[in-house]
Symmetry: C2
Subunit: 399 residues, 2 copies
């Protein structure tokens, strides 16, 4: 019994952590509750309401299914639902009319049409470009079409029914849109923007921390080390944020102008920047791996000393570039400092290459060495270059 209490307690604690971590999630929950109770009360009070089978159901169902965390997702689902219902409804009425005129084949025609259209719509959900935007719409299409063709009413009654259903869905959907956009809206575009800039900062910090940890004397106090290792792990977030970025960008496309973003903001550019950042992240990962391996087989101290200054300078310059880029993306203005910072970084890259070339001559006295280990530092820095170009592209388009 105590075990059960402990598990419940753990679960509640986890839930509390989620709430503290992002209070907007709590607000979203309250919004859903609000929308639902408004819709249900609306129908509960109205005298023209009759039973569960009536129209109220469709409004409530629409709210439950359509209400999503971000404005973009809600809008996308509303539009998909509306379009799917309308298309399938009109098609269903047509098929019913045809079937009604051929009395004896009616079940066969209806069954065959359901079979073929359902298969075709299901297949269309596998096509990437459809899946990305109209997945939900295709599902609603199948649902509505089967319902209409099974209903077996005469056409004039069907039209009446369809009109009622569309209007209730419209009520539910407009309720969702109003509440999601007016009460503390959560914009997918804004989220994407923040995610990308925060990831840039994290990359810069990881890069700094990684190089510093290698060259630093290990005499620093341990509590500072813990914090720095936390910083160091920041690049892992960058590696894992691909799916989030894609879904956010996908929703952001549906959003109207908000804040500093216009309607046709180039969201796809954010994905490109994200991909470039992930490339940087891979390099940092490899760098980290080298450091982990070589903490055992230490390179001789004097080699380290020879290279440490150049490497540190290079890493600080390139993390400066990243930070500057993050700042630039945040303010959406092209800053003049960035060209200067890039120039400095490129200079540092050349310096490191020179230092590496001059290394073997100095090494000849003691032939054992792990110089090779140091080389990978050069790699992420050189790979930063494409990121820079992509980002500046974005900035030019955005501003």
């Amino acid at each position: 019994f105590l075990k059960l209490v402990l598990r419940v307690w753990k679960f509640l604690k986890k839930a509390w952590d989620v709430a503290v971590d992002d209070p907007r999630k709590v607000i979203h929950c309250l919004k859903v509750g609000l929308a639902l109770s408004v819709v249900s009360l609306f129908y509960y009070m109205r005298p023209l309401y009759q039973g569960v089978g009536g129209n109220a159901m469709w409004a409530i169902m629409t709210v439950v299914v359509v209400f999503e965390h971000t404005v973009g997702a809600t809008l996308a689902k509303c539009i998909n639902r509306g379009a799917g219902t309308f298309l399938a409804g009109s098609l269903g009425v047509g098929v019913n009319w045809v079937a009604g005129h051929s009395r004896e084949f009616e079940p066969i025609i209806l069954g065959a049409s359901v079979f073929f259209l359902a298969s075709a719509a299901t297949f269309s959900r596998f096509i990437p470009s459809v899946k990305q935007r109209f997945d939900y719409g295709a599902m609603i299409f199948i649902l509505t079409f089967s319902l209409v063709s099974v209903s077996g009413y005469r056409v004039d009654k069907l039209l009446d029914l369809a009109q009622q259903r569309l209007s209730t869905i419209a009520i539910g959907a407009s309720m969702c849109i109003i509440i999601t956009m007016l009460v503390c809206p959560i914009w997918a575009g804004q989220d994407l923007h923040v995610l990308v800039t925060r990831n840039m900062d994290k990359l810069a910090n990881s890069l700094d921390g990684c190089v510093a940890e290698y060259f630093e004397d290990s005499t620093s106090p341990s509590d500072k080390e813990e914090e720095s290792s936390k910083k160091l792990q920041g690049y892992k977030c960058v590696l894992n944020s691909k799916a989030t970025e894609e879904s956010l960008a996908n929703f952001a496309i549906w959003e109207p102008a908000h804040g500093r973003f216009s309607f046709r903001h180039p969201w796809v550019q954010y994905l490109k920047v994200g991909a470039a950042m992930r490339n940087c992240g891979y390099c940092i990962e490899a760098l980290n791996g080298c450091i982990a391996i070589n903490s055992e087989t230490q390179a001789p101290q004097f080699v380290k000393n020879h290279l440490s200054e150049v490497c540190m300078r290079l890493s600080s310059h390139s993390s400066n570039v990243l930070k500057e880029l993050a700042q630039m993306t945040k303010s959406m203005k092209k800053s003049t400092k960035i060209d200067f910072a890039i120039g400095e970084m490129n200079g540092a890259v050349l310096d490191l290459q020179d230092a590496l070339k001059s290394l073997p001559t100095q090494l000849t006295p003691p032939p054992q060495t792990n110089t090779a280990v140091l080389a990978p530092t050069a790699v992420p820095l050189i790979e930063v270059a494409p990121l820079v170009t992509v980002a500046s592209l974005l900035i030019e388009i955005a501003s």
Copy 2:
């Protein structure tokens, strides 16, 4: 107009590619069509059927919403839907009973209960452990509860209604389960297994191709090169397959015993193997980056010659280990060759380290060099080690 035709043609061609690429998708579509037309004909023929508002709707809706590509996903949704409906239904009847006994506060009690339960259920969907398994169930819970509390019937009639709804949902769900499991079943577990083993092979090929490309003379014919560059890109699939792996593993948990997999197959181990493979992939990515940069600043030929033999041997040994592992995972038997292959790989790692150490002494005559470039080859190979341990762990559990 010609443009429109061209676009439609392109779209159809893409759809055809999808179909050819994975014929099981087409079969899945036909299965959905079959299930839907069986259910709708079933209801269409039965005399006890009355109008759209009737029960047929719920069976059809269940089929449309619940039928998924893999068996595991379908089962998970069926169970979620059943449990969510049952829980919310009984709770809703209870709340209705309480509200019915306090005449004047009825709308307030109902509205408040909808608000609080909907908020709580929406919040629970944000908690990772709930989201992973019961996301759909929570949604159905909200939906059913609001529908029941809005219906405003007396309790005895509600019980009748609830029983009808549950039975129609059961009909729809059992139809889905029967069709998905008997007609060409697509098992998530099987898919996951194949994905992981294929990714291992891809990694091995990329590693081979990458190292070979660097050391090989560039006199090979261009068509062979194209194929090899395709192989080389294989590791990118590994990097991007995280989300797929996770969702497959998540569905596989729900599946009963099938093929060579028992009910409680350790699917989580596959995720660990996937993570280890992704680490290897990062290394290959870094390696690739080095090669791209150094195709301009070529290392002197004699350095290459000195190292090429050792590096090639190391890469072929370690890709052998990967291939052996893939073979082992495929057959789910611990092979005796693997220990031998690992031993050979470790020997090759030591050889490479020796070669790197002896390099500077040989280099002294011409002091310019890019030896550093070659070092990263050592990294992925050393990083293969954790993969090996994880995989052998899996094999021991599985067999």
